[in-house]
Symmetry: D3
């Protein structure tokens, strides 16, 4: 049952959460979940090549464009009022103890049932690796009674899922969970089209949703799945049923 669940999505750069989980986000919202997005950076150094190539840009102008794009995408997905920007420098992201503390605080504030962030290893993106390590560590710290982040209440262990990296096999990505996004696919498509700085990725992640849909259909025997997103499981599934 998704209704009432709390989902926290931590994205290293402004668009990561869209390419890799927009369908799941829109589906969760549609089903009554609360979704919160944290964008750690705008990706202006490492993930705005198409903008810089146009020329005449400054860090500030690129940042403004990236922010506008991602807000537009967030609006389409229904999370415009639940997205925040920490505005860290990217490439390479320097995740200080202060950032760790801030993330523990954020986790305790949101109290998510589920966190989605970058998977443990992305061979083409060092920032993703650092963010994965940070979010995982903070999810552990958040459960510890001895850590008194502000006036916050300790959490119980939440679930953690990892985004599919760009080149999965050489990043040791193992699919753990496929989410059927057939009902939210159109929203994902519209959200992706907001990102002119990474235009080449739109067809890429469109095709990927189709391929993942094929995979999900084949291993589930469910013929109705057309599009899917795929995540790594940080932990085994625990429940009353074999899913």
């Amino acid at each position: 049952m998704i209704a009432g669940k709390k989902l926290l999505v931590v994205s290293a750069h402004a668009a990561d959460y869209v390419w890799r989980s927009a369908g799941t986000i829109a589906h969760y919202i549609k089903c009554g979940a609360d979704v919160q997005i944290v964008c750690l950076s705008f990706g202006i150094r490492g993930e705005s090549n198409d903008l810089w190539k146009k020329g005449g840009q400054t860090e500030e102008s690129v940042k403004a464009i990236r922010k506008a794009e991602t807000l537009k995408a967030a609006e389409i997905l229904g999370v415009k009022n639940n997205i925040e920007f920490w505005d860290l420098e990217d490439y390479c992201m320097n995740l200080t103890p202060e950032i760790y503390d801030r993330m523990v605080l954020k986790i305790r504030e949101i109290r998510p049932d589920i966190i989605i962030t970058h998977d443990k290893f992305d061979i083409l993106n060092p920032d993703h690796n650092h963010v994965s390590e940070m979010v995982y560590s903070c999810s552990i710290m958040s459960n510890s009674s001895g850590i008194s982040a502000g006036n916050t209440k300790v959490t119980k262990q939440m679930k953690l899922f990892g985004f599919e990296p760009h080149q999965t096999e050489i990043s040791n990505f193992k699919p753990g969970s496929y989410i059927d996004i057939t009902d939210s696919y159109e929203q994902k498509l519209a959200a992706m089209q907001c990102f002119q700085a990474q235009n080449h990725l739109i067809k890429y992640y469109t095709d990927r949703a189709f391929l993942r849909g094929n995979h999900a259909r084949r291993i589930s025997g469910n013929p109705d799945i057309k599009y899917a997103e795929c995540f790594a499981n940080f932990f085994p599934i625990v429940g009353n049923e074999l899913y």
Copy 2:
């Protein structure tokens, strides 16, 4: 939703299904599932050491004892009328093409939503490895329209889960799914106590249920789980939700 689900459990030897999945079986039955057990052998050669050591035994007498024990266990779990014995020779089990065909037929007859059997590798039990390979191959063959096993109707891909082997880490076992068996733990305990041929395993799997309960509680944050069973996932989870 478990009610109405069909579960097929394929056990290499007479007691494997009890040590490794009795809690899950009893829980599924309690919740309204149909459960069918196939015991491929009585394990008289490889898994009846305690009986042979008593002396004065023949293959037939050991087989009779093993059959009585496992039927008693099945009764406790609620599957006495849904267990069948293929009476193959164990250690080493020779799985001929005819056995493969018979298993395809059985899968098509039962049409399970879920199959539980041995995981891919058990460093201390070659039979388990052969059975795992056979059941997995037959689950694929069962989906193929070109295979006309008797008058049977082709299936869709069902889910596959692997039993926890005796020594997990050196058998490359990766926990994929924990099932909370707190509500069926007493039945598992009673079922295990039927096996006098493998008496030393009773405390072993009792402690294991407690440890797996601890693991499940820790990673789920659910304080009510006392006992659990653990399975490997042959395939990623597919669904509408991140479990």
Copy 3:
């Protein structure tokens, strides 16, 4: 230098070589290589679901359709006169010592510089696994002077590459070599369209060629690659240069 090279492609079922290596085959022929295809089976049991579903089919009629389709594809790729059918039963393929001997003989006859076949593990296709094992073993046996297959001359170790399986990550597939198939992509597309028995795979492998093109472009820095095929390397690369 491709000109003059000999390439042997061993395909478990009639269409495997097309989905997974048609672009490379056509590219090699275009560049002056000799390419030989061995189709071990027509895949009538395991890979002709769409035909069987039409009804009114017999094993012979399905075989005839599959053969016609694959010959049409071979013609498009330029290998119509270099394809042979061993007509083995599929699902599960039983690879007897006689088949091993025949394959050694074939390798000694062709004397390939390169063999392409199925990679070591395909989680959804047991036949692929058996064929991979067989071709690899025969490539080793073919180099041994003590094996006198007919009147044949012993070979030197040839290169071995593995097809990309359908679901790569859960089959432990590791990309080793990307081949730029931009110049032969149209032929691959046309060849794929011959297979009405597996119609659903045409868009699948079309999208895959685009995604693999993206991967190849990203890791090579070569902006001209549009489409690619990906293979596993059975052995490390040996040469005078770091490719």
Copy 4:
């Protein structure tokens, strides 16, 4: 021959060395070894949940309780005079170059034949990972003549073993060495009972010793082993005999 051997145990938090190696420590002392314990932190932030939950605690009061508990345990094991506390902050432990230097100095001072510390990866405890990395690096540095830590004499490579983490399979733990602790099990039990802050772990590690005893008995064929502890080997075994 254990008599005269020097063993250094480095524990991230105050109780880690007890849960995971108390039996081995007591056994080594019984057999005449010199054992030295370094507790890097008291674990007051991350591993004192049961104390904090009681309420009315301060960092100092928790620290005092934890210190008293671990000293009592050390007394039971026979290492009360060979335990030192570095009192670092835990969760997340910040291991500065100064800590590295101090550890090199400590290793050169103790000159251990064997170091036991945390294994390379613990999916539920980032501190364990950092300590493992630090101790391993310092063991390498300690062997280098160019590093003049105080007035110390360079060491030769000592052996390194890793503690079993809480959830082994998902932490990629591979058992390398089982130590029979049947003769020191009662001491381990008594030592564990000192830790009221982590009361839930006492039964956990009691059962684990029993299960590890079963594993050790099965793979060694030695029927006298009742309880065991399990460690990862950082390096292969080197010797005059196959152990």
Copy 5:
């Protein structure tokens, strides 16, 4: 303590045991162990290239040369009276149920403390893989009371170690145990020089002994090791001490 230990070495082809374990065998004999060698084949098809290239050979003449060479080597190592030849056909070795039964019988007859045979995977030698699987399975079966091989007495689990394959890294070989063969190195050298059919391997395994000596020296800190042999551990070490 080696004196009185029983060591069984199972070699797929006539010379495998020499290249990979001659130093360990000679060392064990020197220290008072009983060593028994089983050569499953003479390797006339797959491992006698240099002989066949000379021309004028028949299967029988090659077999005679190989037998003479390996007996000469066995004499040098001190196992001339403890070597037996099962004379199976190699490349590919067909290990029937009868061979399995014969191996169980042999294990029960010898009652070894330690078995050395091929490791689980050799990417360049399918025979090695089949033999590894067979010996491991038979070692398990030998422990089962229900298997009455002739009039034999059931065994307890013995230790298993795997030979280093020719190309280790691509065969997934993990060094588990290094044996210092400095005291038996000259014998190994002399034994290797008996094999004119595989002359190119003599320098290869001479250098390997030197490199493995370097590795062993580096990780043990023991400066006296000059030459070593390396084995994989099938099971973790069990004992009273951390070796």
Copy 6:
């Protein structure tokens, strides 16, 4: 085609590039490539044991000897004018953001087609691990338009290869590419002989070149290869041909 290619070699310590890639460097120069070496440190703390043991040394005197030795080696290889020393402290190397920036700048200045540096994991050398991570991250950053290192022009993704570590199997090293260094072997030998501080490594890497030559010959079927060097591939090969 090597002529005109640009090769950047990044070496953690003064001699690493010689032991592990001198043959490839000399071969590349012979064939018309531009080769640039960056030595991050002189290895005076961690890799000059033989010098320190002589006594009477200071950091400065050891540094002077190491520099003279490596320059002599560089001269033999033909890179005397293309080697630079960053003079960082080793054991443990502290790679600050400033070092990262300097490396990005260096990559953009050289614009290499290929970078060779340390592979991802060396179990006996933490410095190698840090350098590997740094060079890989900088190679990614260098491609990003948003990173304006000085007045530099963004690069396209270059190829990355990893040095063979000292003990390969326990460092998870997987051979990806073998380079035939038969034509430059004498130069490698001469270059290695310059390093009196690590005298014991000369025979080690001489033998290794012979063994790697054997490996390369066996898997390529090319009988002319006598000596080889082996590298890990950071990325799959991309090209128009299966190498």
